[in-house]
Symmetry: C2
Subunit: 288 residues, 2 copies
């Protein structure tokens, strides 16, 4: 049981974890922290949090567990604001989509990565934002990746693992670098393709017509281009190196595909599409 | 009322149009044509067709309307097979995803594009194939593009228009070249990105793990990579030029995006993502 949970950034992710823990009867008091008063008032009205503050230091002072679910670009400043008031026994975790940058931010602010800080990332989300979009089932049967360091306290890791399990998630552990590479491939690159495609089409001369003839497949394909632009700017900046590498690999793949199409090599095209369909059917549909 | 409809290629598209016309009471007899006996037997069992043949010439002999819904690569051969038995008053239309190649095939076989041939393309589909995947509502409230030529008979055009409207679709008319450019952007390019991404990830060393951490957004994004590989090979070959042009534009967009990420230009990233999100929200969600 968590006596006092502080959620810094009461949006889709922070709000959903608060709701899930409350629904699972795992928490007594929840204090929410954010910048906009409207979002915090709504969070209290919805019963997601019990109290609120705009000041991270106030939020964490008496907390036994802190969940930071702000955009990645705000992490370092939040660490600075809580540094001096954080009790040594308080466990901290976060939900940021990139882990290397968050660990570097902690290192820069604290001079070392605090043993009670367990970096984490729930592999769950929607393209909507804010506490209004949050719901307690978001993490049910979804994966959460924790990326503890050598110096991370085993009890803190166990506590954060139990927390996510109480929210219905399946917890995996991997290294920071590996996390950032895997997510560059499965999440960050696809978002770049969706944003890039929609942007390209929007720039076409007859763009209203172009979108008019976009069918159902296009709708699904581009759904992720409706995601929060600030969050994605931060993810790109935070995972710059792994994402650049993946973009380069993908460009290479596309250059080859374009040449295959231009040369009219039907056999090779059939190979590629057959392989891709098999992989997609096997891995994705087999996974659920 | 159509006294006798011939459907050549009784798959998702051909089967769904047959079902829709039957449901709308627009057709008396439907004869199906294809290569595999199993699919034709299933089509008859499901009530999608009344009779079947493996021979396109037999199928069209007494038909007053012919719908060709085979993969694009089979069109030219089918035209050759029906050329000598087709009655001059029979109206022909097709559902192929590229129009320039079908028109070129007709030109090559008949020596001219028959006035009673109305090239068409329903902007509707799923990633499934065969008559088992067909359903009568597939075209309801979806668009169908017809690309008549100067020599196309006005009555044939009117008849094909009425046919699709009876199936619940909204019919638009545009030029062959314009159709192939618009579809390269909204359909063919996105399919290449989805196939390419899944293929790239499947080639990664730790591919089982990579797919394990793919979340809901990835599932939607790559759904179209489960589409029929033969159909997509044919589309690529048939729309080679417009698709190569779109791939080149997209590569240019991605090269710029990669540079923006590598340079850490957050402001520019925010601009791109904000513009893309606005376009996606406006055009796609506003369209329904
Ligand atoms: N959405 C997803 O699919 C997803 C999935 C997994 C992980 N994540 C990660 O989870 C985190 C939150 O994402 P989200 O989707 O929940 O975004 P969100 O719905 O926009 O929520 C973020 C919250 O953080 C608050 N915030 C922003 N700047 C802050 C600051 N300086 N101090 C305190 N609070 C601040 C915002 O409120 P104010 O603007 O009022 O401050 C907002 O309520 C991000 O790090 C993201 O990478 C997202
Ligand atoms: N799926 C979509 O999303 C979509 C959307 C719009 C337009 N289209 C177009 O519609 C057409 C059909 O696509 P579909 O999705 O309906 O594919 P499908 O479900 O695979 O159906 C195609 C049918 O054509 C038959 N066929 C193949 N070769 C043939 C030949 N040489 N002679 C006669 N029949 C032949 C196949 O049966 P056998 O193998 O037994 O011969 C099969 O039943 C394609 O031109 C495609 O470009 C597809």
């Amino acid at each position: 049981m968590i006596a006092r949970l502080a959620v810094i950034g009461v949006g889709l992710i922070g709000g959903s974890l608060a709701r899930a823990l409350r629904a699972a009867d795992q928490v007594q008091d929840i204090i929410g922290c954010g910048r906009s008063l409207d979002n915090l008032l709504l969070a209290r009205e919805l019963g997601v949090i019990d109290a609120y503050t705009h000041d991270p230091a106030t939020a964490v002072r008496d907390a036994d567990l802190v969940f930071i679910a702000s955009p990645l670009g705000a992490m370092r400043e939040i660490f600075s604001q809580i540094k001096d008031v954080l009790r040594p026994e308080t466990v901290i975790t976060d939900g940021g989509s990139v882990k290397g940058s968050v660990v570097a931010d902690a290192q820069a602010v604290f001079g070392h990565v605090p043993p009670n800080f367990v970096p984490g990332h729930p592999i769950a989300g929607t393209e909507r934002s804010g506490v209004a979009a949050s719901f307690p089932e978001l993490f049910r049967n979804r994966r959460v990746i924790l990326t503890p360091l050598a110096e991370t306290d085993a009890q803190a890791l166990a506590r954060v693992t139990a927390l996510w399990q109480a929210a219905g998630a399946e917890v995996s552990v991997m290294s920071v670098a590996h996390h950032d590479e895997v997510l560059a491939a499965t999440s960050h690159l696809p978002h770049m393709l969706a944003f890039g495609l929609v942007d390209l089409l929007a720039q076409m001369q007859n763009n209203a017509e172009v979108f008019r003839y976009a069918a159902g497949g296009f709708r699904d394909f581009t759904r992720i281009a409706s995601s929060n632009p600030v969050m994605w700017r931060d993810i790109c900046l935070a995972n710059r190196h792994a994402l650049s590498d993946m973009l380069a690999c993908f460009s290479h793949e596309m250059t080859e595909l374009a040449a295959t199409i231009r040369n009219g090599d039907g056999e090779h095209l059939l190979d590629i599409f057959t392989r891709a369909k098999a992989a997609r059917d096997r891995f994705i549909d087999g996974a659920h």
